[in-house]
Subunit: 707 residues, 2 copies
């Protein structure tokens, strides 16, 4: 049900336009017209509020205030109300069950039992928005409805499911090659190495610094020949520099955002002063998108879009004010108030919200203030790239993910969760956030494993890797000035453990990729809270375990020095404490609470009852995996079925149902298991070796040839 | 064993001077002489490192880097290495068990498995220090040795065990009175209301602003008559202002720290420019301490010492540099490096470490650079007050606690844990830190309940109160500009719960006070990790449960929206889920793991086997509690004994063994319990009503008259 309030700007968040209802009949909420609108819902004590995508706090959002306003906050402590994305979808899950999406591209505030324990209050700071209310009988059904409404998620190439290594920055070709060679030397699988801002010439988009990366095209090829792809960053701001083509063309064609006088708006980011491309103007979007072609022509197959909230370090106006304050201060005995005012003038330059009111987009001939459309900016930068990729190489899947986003952006790229820290708290936040992101369509996602800011220690690196190995985007990234955190940057024992974890990821790719694609094609999620499949009160409240695809439950360890953790087992499950994926042993866990011991080298993986997991062998990269022989681990009480999905991994033929499925069924018949395999077109697969465990923990091994 | 390296400055941390050993024979450590000294110990994987007092991270300090250098960090995220105190005592607890205290008043860095998983590396940035190594057979024994070494902890008056309400700031007499009246109106017990910096005239120590607090002496009396004490703050910095007596006298007598030219050193804090009293000079210490007398004469009986790291907002020198940078920037096109340099020049003014090298103390006629003695500053400010109290009213116990501290300061005052935030993470940090503080002698301690910075929500306030009710210092404090967090500042349901929690605290005072005093008199701790009494591997690793006194184990809930938590029960225990302390029901928990359900209004309290807890009734203040009739809850399998301690609560007569003890013994004899009570001088106590539970959960009630 869609309710239109006022005359909203078209965000393109929603694909199915749905039936419009009379806004006088909005259900569930008390509506109050203020300067904008205020929607109020009285929660029962049992209500859980799921969703809101990229945000702080728990899977259950009760207790917090969340402000949807894309923000580059490099220090996101628990009190921060805005992160990089704006994802206004949530589900009320109690006696009443319904989903809500507020399609409004500027500030929306959700006060979910923060001010008053029982009230969910939404403040929309404008009078023009679409409100969608989705009814259903379960959380999962409501989420699936929403995912259908907003359209199919972005699909990365299969190689992007490999491990990826990043740092701000590998400064030059030698350093990149040294990293690549270290992976080869230590025999650690890896698919991509990232180029952060320093690969560019003076931080100019679509340039490569000749001094540090001479003959870039040749270098890209050289690294590719070693089995690695390079993934460069693209920033939102375009450097103001005479003779720089992007700048010159943007000015000439009026493709930049403008100030109140209609002149290209000036802000400062990495390159110093920049203009911001007006991604909301379709022509500007196409123009900027096609700029990626230069790098693509040099062999690049993936990008990450950054600083596209857009982040602003300072504007001339605010810097001028601060400097004036400093000058005034010079010959005065500053009292403490004037001192803090002076200090704050400088501190407040970074991402000053006032700046967002000082520039404009062109939309259908009119100027629209940026602040009113703020949350669409990063989304449309990603769209610029994706639309251009479609034009440049229509059938190729490029890697693309962004920092800022809005609902709708999930169709054009993934997101990573921004500048986190090497804090245990941020590992836990990562765990909680993944399911919320999935509910908002962002399936291809992950955090900076090990933490971006601050120094990681060996055990945090290990525990974080043990979680990220399950996230579609599995990238290790860290900031300038912090401790190196490549898997070989620690002591020998740590290296050994990290190598095994990354190999485990590669071994699990048949399952991970298959489940990701299943979610994508069926408008479902890849990572879910237990509540998606278990509706008892305990399961619904578990905040630190996740279902990964259909068959697995994971219980990440996120506490320092912990030799294990408590787990809630919602039904009988099979535990595999993975150390080396080739040597496996299992334990049956009964429904209930348990303390699970897990040494530093052990990754606990639970297999659900009557489910099957497939794995292969590791290889040095995803493309090296041949998957002619797979292994299956099954925990079968009566019957388990699995549909193993695969495709070419590079084209969009999956959209035309050009993929291969293998149907596997295991049925318990007396004391034996009958295995049925129906192969729909997977020519590679020759053999599956089964380890089937029954409810008593007895193992049956079988090998089945696949024809 | 004491090892003297070089020629250390006398810190007075240690009372028993101990036998000195040859420093060539230092056990356990590899020692390397660098610019200072580096001590290295190879840990086994099982070693737990306890201690380090006021610090981040877990009870087990492995995985972190900790820098002992008293720091005012108002934003203590998990990566911060220094907090307000410097407590260089830790215990290695593995196959080898020993305690280490490094008596050195400047920077000491502990890298405990951070850089390399197995190494504990200590860097002392100087060549003159005392190293103490304490051997023992258990953690508890080693801690007790250390507490004997450093001398008896500070003892507050009994009223300081009541609930205390603070805020930066209750701005004037009307506001203070309104707070007091609200407690009376809502019938919530409270013993003290705090006066933060705004009670002073222009932040000048020992002044009271006449406009906002006219007739202060009368006002103190008026509030006292209502049953509340006022507790004013005292800051380290003395405002530079002609005619202000403290300033004038300090200058005249050369009692301030000096710069390299020998002139009083200037820094800026709340009052703007200030001088720092040289608390290391005994004469200056006495002079400053006796200044408290003015407020004491007006009826004040407690103080908190703040900003005594000392915190520095800016110095003229660094401010001048920053302003010069701003001026240079004015007509330039700032590139991103020069921009961040400019910004950092202003950001970095606050607590700039360089400033600490720019001033000096006088010691035995010589100037000693502050940086070399930095960690003694706050300690000696507290000592100044305590020594003066001793002189002013030798037998009276004053409330005194400080922000900055060093080992030794525990004899002069308590500490609170500084400017935390309204984060669930800081509630958990509070839980973990309490036992470490106890091990370092800081028994009278607690955090800003509800969090100082940021906005608290109702459930965090409730859960934090449920923990703080067990900490000796139980104070609710919050910063200017944040949400009000007095117990009556939330919705009706929350008010009701908070009132019950505070009343529970008052009901438990017979136990809390008795156990606190027992710890103090026996060189033991009041709050301890489970490892103090249970040495199985699981118990040793529990980081989120505490033993409180001898009879209780608490399991605070520190997660948002949690309806319970997992607990480890190290032996059979009796659970009391306290809602209203008068209506009690119990459950037996067997040894093992359990998920404990606890609604928002429930405070779980575990009573150990063969132990007894005493409680009385609540009252509006501690002095109102008469304790003629007590109730005892006992969980008895064979025999339980308890020594109930009490004293006058106001004098130091406890030092002369002038206290009253009641020995209670309950012995199970067949199906009955035999109670023996030996009263050593408690005239008030007339009756104890027993609720005795046996191992099957059967309750026996008995009432015993006490003579």
């Amino acid at each position: 049900m869609k309710y239109r309030i006022g005359n909203p700007f078209e965000t393109d968040a929603v694909l199915q336009k749905g039936r419009e209802c009379d806004k006088e009949n909005i259900e569930y909420f008390q509506i109050e017209e203020t300067e904008g609108f205020r929607l109020s819902y009285r929660m029962t004590p049992q209500d859980i509020i799921w969703g809101l995508g990229e945000n702080q706090k728990g899977m259950n959002k009760r207790g917090g205030v969340y402000v949807s306003y894309c923000t580059d906050d490099p220090n996101h402590t628990p009190d921060k109300k805005s992160l990089y994305g704006a994802h206004n979808f949530f589900v009320v899950d109690g006696e009443e069950k319904f989903g809500v999406f507020i399609d409004y591209p500027s500030k929306v505030t959700f006060d979910i039992g923060f001010t008053h324990s029982e009230f969910l209050d939404i403040t929309v700071e404008g009078k023009d928005f679409d409100l969608y209310i989705l009814k259903g009988t379960s959380l999962r059904e409501i989420v699936q409805q929403f995912l259908s409404l907003i359209g199919e998620s972005y699909c990365p190439p299969k190689w992007a499911f490999g491990y990826q290594q990043s740092r701000w920055s590998y400064m030059n070709a030698e350093e990149v090659e040294k990293i690549v060679d270290s992976f080869l030397y230590y025999d650690i699988p890896c698919d991509a190495v990232y180029l952060d801002i320093d690969y560019m010439e003076k931080f100019k988009d679509f340039t490569v610094d000749d001094a540090s990366f001479p003959n870039f095209e040749g270098f890209v090829k050289k690294i590719k020949d070693k089995g690695f792809r390079l993934v460069p960053i693209i920033d939102a701001g375009v450097k103001i520099e005479k003779g720089y083509d992007v700048y010159e063309e943007g000015i000439e064609k009026n493709y930049f955002c403008v100030d109140e006088k209609g002149e290209a708006f000036v802000a400062a980011v990495w390159p110093g002063r920049v203009h911001f491309p007006d991604f909301l103007n379709p022509e500007a979007r196409r123009w900027f998108g096609l700029k990626y072609k230069g790098l693509i022509d040099w062999g690049i197959e993936g990008f990450w879009n950054d600083m596209n909230e857009p982040a602003i370090f300072y504007t001339n106006k605010e810097l001028h004010k601060a400097v004036e304050k400093a000058k005034e201060a010079q010959n005065q005995n500053l009292d403490i108030y004037s001192y803090f005012e002076l200090r704050d003038a400088f501190v407040g330059l970074l991402n000053n919200l006032k700046d967002y009111q000082d520039f404009y987009h062109k939309s259908e001939g009119k100027l629209v203030n940026h602040d009113k459309l703020h949350n669409l900016y990063g989304y449309n930068m990603t769209r610029a790239a994706a639309e251009a990729f479609e034009e440049i190489q229509p059938d190729k899947r490029f890697l693309m993910f962004s920092r800022a986003s809005y609902i709708g952006a999930h169709r054009y790229g993934g997101i990573w969760t921004g500048d986190n820290h090497s804090w245990w708290e941020h590992l836990l936040l990562n765990v909680k956030m993944m399911s919320s992101l999935n509910m908002c369509g962002f399936l291809y996602s992950g955090a900076d494993t090990g933490g971006f800011g601050g120094d990681v220690n060996p055990q945090l690196m290990i525990r974080w890797m043990q979680f990220s190995l399950f996230t579609p985007l599995f990238r290790n990234h860290s900031a300038m000035g912090t401790r190196r955190q490549e898997p070989f940057a620690f002591d020998e024992g740590t290296l050994h453990i990290l190598r095994n974890i990354i190999r485990l990821r590669y071994a699990l790719i048949p399952y991970i990729y298959s489940e990701f694609m299943r979610a994508l094609l069926n408008r479902d999620v890849y990572m879910a809270p237990l509540a998606f499949h278990y509706d008892d009160e305990r399961s619904r409240r578990v905040e630190d375990q996740l279902l990964v695809g259909d068959a697995l439950m994971i219980t990440p360890i996120y506490e320092e020095n912990a030799g294990g953790r408590y787990v809630w087992i919602p039904e009988e499950m099979l535990l595999w404490k993975a150390v080396d994926y080739k040597n496996r042993s299992y334990q049956i866990y009964k429904k209930g609470n348990a303390y699970l011991e897990a040494d530093m080298q052990e990754t606990p993986i639970f297999i659900r009852k009557n489910h099957i997991v497939l794995l292969g062998k590791h290889g040095s990269s995803v493309e090296e995996l041949c998957h002619d022989e797979l292994e299956a681990i099954a925990f079968v009480d009566s019957k388990a079925t699995y549909v193993y999905y695969d495709d070419d991994g590079t084209t969009k033929e999956y959209k035309n149902r050009q993929y291969k499925e293998v149907l596997i069924e295991i049925e318990k018949i007396k004391n034996d298991f009958q295995i049925t395999i129906i192969n729909k077109g997977n020519d590679k697969l020759k053999k599956i070796s089964f380890e089937i465990l029954d409810i008593q923990g007895n193992m049956t091994k079988k090998i089945v040839e696949v024809s």
